[in-house]
Symmetry: C2
Subunit: 400 residues, 2 copies
C-alpha cells in the first residue's frame, strides 16, 4: 500500500463529465490498495472568467480581494468532485486551505507555503476517506485568503505530498508526460519514462509548460517522486526521480526551445558600467540571460546578453538614459532570437557535446551568436527562423 | 452617527453595473456620517447555476459538499463589491463566515446561527473600513461550511445587526417595501411607510415574499428595527419597528392572499381519531391549517382543515390507509382554494372586523367555507376563482 497524492488540473476537471471520469480514476487508485489524497484546480476557464470580472471593475484590483475572488473557483471544483465520489459509494470530503491550515506568507497573488497541518489529513486517511483539497490557495497569519500564483495547484500538491511523506505525487494534466522536445516542433520527440530531478528543474526553468518551476523546486526540497500523467489517457507518464545513475543511455535527456528573445551587444570603456547597468535592470525586474564579455581592444570592453522581448523597450530606454547614454557605445540589438538548450546529467561528463552541437549546426549554415554551458545544460542562441531546423538537427544527433 | 447594516440580495448585485451602483449607495451612506456594515448574497442566478451542477452529478448530493459549493457564490460577490468600493477610494474588506466566526449548528442546508464574534467587525468599524460580509453561510463547530437555507442572507444581516446592536438593518431587495396587498392583485395596494413587527411576522408567516420569516423572527429577538428598500430606487422603503401605537389609522394594516390550498372535511365517531390523524400528518411533515371541528349529530364529530396542494396526494393516501379508512367517513375535498388574511394590530380590539368582512363578501355572493381568527389576524377560505374579487373588496373596505 502506497500513499499517493493526485493533482488534477483545470482541463482534467473542465466539465461535469471530466469530473466524473476523474472520480472514477481516484476510486480505482484506492481500489488498487493505495491511500489517496487529491488536490484540484478550478474548472478550466473559471479563473479567467473571475479575473475578467475583477478587471472590469478595476484595472488593478485589490490584491487581497482578487485572491478571495479567484480562490472560489477551487471551492466549486472540490465540492463537485467530492459529490461525484460520494455518489459512487465512496467516502470523500472536500477541504479548503483554512480547514487544513495551509499557512502562507501574505504576498497576495504569489504567496509561499510556510506550513501545513497534517492532523486533519491523517484523520481522513485513517478513516479511509478521500480528502479533496482545494489547490492554489492558502491563508496568511491573519486568516486572509492568499493564492500561490501560476502553477499554484501543482505547488499545493507537492507541499501536501511532502508534509505527508507520500510515496508519489502524481500530476495529472493535459499532456501525458515530459518529452525529449516539444512534439509540435520535433516530430521525433519521445515521451520520457524517467527523468532525473535536476534535469526536470532545468527544463522547468527553461519554461517547459508541463510543470511549474516552483513545484519542481518544492518536490526537490522534500525529495518526493513526481509523476506527470494525462487524466485523459492515464498510463505510466513520466516519473521524475532522484536517482542519478542509469536514467538514460544518452548524455542528453531533452531539448528545450524558447522564442521571443532579443540579443544585445555594446561596448564600454569603464569596467564599472556593467555592474551599474545590471543593477538598473534588476531594479526594473528584467532578467538578463546568456551574459558574456569580451575585450575588443586594450581599453574597450564588449558585452552581449539576451532579454525576453517584452522587456525590449525598457532596455532600450535604459541604454538611452543617463549615465548609460554617455558611457555605452556601439549598441546593436537583434529581435526574433531563440534559445536552444540541451539538458542532461551526462553533459557535465561529456565536454564534447557543445563542440558536436556547433559542428552539426554549422553543416546547416547555422552559426550561433551566443552560447553558454552550465552543469547539466548547454544553451545556444539562434534566430527564430533557424529554430526549427536547429532543434530537429540536435534531436536527431543527440536523441536518435 | 448611526450604525447601519445593509443587506443586498442577488438581483441588487446581479451584474457588474449593479455592483458598482451598490458600491456607490454604500459609500453615500458612509458619507452621510454613518458607520456601515454590509451583507451580500450571491449574484442572481449563481446559486441556481451551482445547484444545477450538483444535481447533474447526484440527484441528492452530499449535504456537506452542497454547502461548500453554494457558499462559493457569496465569496465571489463580496470580493467584487469590496473591489468596487476600493476602486472608488474607500476602505473595504470582504469577510467570510470563518473570518468573523459565524458559528452555526451542523444542519447543512438549513443551519441556525449560534454565535458571531464581533471583535473583527468592531476593529473594521474603528478603522472606518466597510466590512463586506458573505451572507447565507456559516461554519459549524468542526469548521465545516454550512448554509442557512432560504432567506439566509437576510438572516445573516439581522444576526450581524443584532450582535453589533445596530441602529437599523436595511434589507435592499427588488421591491421597494411592504405593501397593503400584492400590487399584482390589488391595483389600489399602497406601500406602507411603517409596519409593526408583529404584523410583519404574520405577513411573513403567510408567505409575503419580501422578508423571510426566520429573519423577521431574528429581528424580533434582537429588537432591531428593519427597513425594506429597493436598491434600484432607494427611498424610504418600509420601516418595521416595535412601536404598537399610532402605526396606522386603520385596524387592518395589510391583506395577504395564498393560493394552492386544498379544503378537506370528514366525519368520525371516535374523538381519538383526530389526534391519531394529526400525528400521522405531522410524521409526514404536512402542515395542517384552519382546522375546525363541529358536532353533526350526538355521536358523530365533523372536522374540516386545509393543506397545501402539493401535500394533497399524501393526505388522500393517508385517509385511504388503515386505521383511518375504517374510522373516517364522508370525506369531501375541494381543490383550488385560497386563503385571504387580514393582518393588523387593531384586529384584536375590533371584533366586528370578521363580521364586516363576511358581510362585504356576501354582497359579492362569496360565502367562505372556513374562517379563523387569531390575535392580530383574521383568515377566510374562498375559492381561487373568488380570490381576486375578495381581496379587492376587502382592500376597498378596510384600506380605503
Amino acid at each position: 500500500m502506497a500513499l499517493i497524492v493526485q493533482k488534477f488540473g483545470g482541463t482534467s476537471v473542465g466539465s461535469l463529465e471530466r469530473i466524473e471520469a476523474v472520480a472514477e480514476l481516484i476510486i480505482k487508485t484506492q481500489q488498487q490498495g493505495h491511500q489517496v489524497v487529491v488536490v484540484v484546480s478550478a474548472m478550466s476557464g473559471e479563473t479567467n472568467r473571475l479575473f475578467n470580472l475583477a478587471k472590469h471593475l478595476d484595472e488593478s484590483p485589490s490584491a487581497r480581494e482578487l485572491d478571495v475572488l479567484l480562490s472560489s473557483g477551487e471551492q466549486v471544483s472540490v465540492a463537485l468532485l467530492a459529490m461525484a465520489i460520494i455518489k459512487r459509494g465512496h467516502s470523500a470530503v472536500s477541504l479548503l486551505a483554512d480547514q487544513i491550515s495551509i499557512r502562507t506568507d501574505n504576498m497576495f497573488g504569489r504567496a509561499r507555503v510556510e506550513h501545513i497541518d497534517t492532523r486533519r489529513l491523517k484523520q481522513e486517511l485513517e478513516h479511509n476517506r478521500i480528502a479533496i483539497i482545494a489547490g492554489f490557495q492558502g491563508r496568511d497569519s491573519e486568516g486572509n485568503i492568499t493564492t500561490l500564483g501560476r502553477g499554484g495547484t501543482d505547488t499545493t500538491a507537492v507541499e501536501i505530498a511532502g508534509v505527508l511523506q507520500a510515496d508519489e505525487c502524481q500530476i495529472y494534466t493535459d499532456v501525458d508526460g515530459v518529452y525529449t522536445a516539444d512534439p509540435r516542433v520535433v516530430s521525433g520527440a519521445r515521451r520520457l519514462n524517467h527523468i532525473n530531478f535536476s534535469e526536470m528543474l532545468e527544463l522547468a526553468s527553461l519554461g517547459a509548460k508541463v510543470l511549474h518551476l516552483r513545484s519542481v523546486e518544492a518536490a526537490g526540497r522534500y525529495q518526493i517522486p513526481l509523476r506527470v500523467l494525462s487524466s485523459f489517457n492515464p498510463d505510466n507518464g513520466t516519473l521524475i526521480s532522484y536517482k542519478e545513475e542509469g536514467m538514460s543511455d544518452s548524455p542528453v535527456t531533452g531539448i528545450a526551445a524558447n522564442k521571443d528573445i532579443v540579443f544585445y551587444q555594446f561596448t564600454a570603456s569603464e569596467a564599472s558600467v556593467l555592474s551599474q547597468f545590471l543593477l538598473a535592470l534588476a531594479k526594473l525586474k528584467i532578467d538578463v540571460d546568456m551574459l558574456s564579455q569580451w575585450s575588443r581592444q586594450a581599453a574597450i570592453l564588449g558585452y552581449a546578453f539576451t532579454v525576453q522581448s517584452n522587456d525590449h523597450l525598457a532596455v532600450l530606454a535604459l541604454l538611452q538614459s543617463e549615465p548609460f547614454a554617455h558611457k555605452i557605445n556601439d549598441v546593436v540589438f537583434e529581435l526574433h532570437q531563440a534559445k536552444v538548450s540541451l539538458v542532461g546529467l551526462g553533459i557535465k561528463s561529456h565536454p564534447e557535446i557543445l563542440a558536436n552541437a556547433l559542428t552539426v549546426l554549422a553543416e546547416q549554415d547555422i552559426y550561433p551568436k551566443l552560447m553558454s554551458t552550465a552543469e547539466i545544460k548547454a544553451t545556444i542562441l539562434v534566430s527564430e527562423a533557424q529554430l526549427h531546423c536547429a532543434v530537429n538537427q540536435l534531436h536527431v544527433t543527440f536523441l536518435p
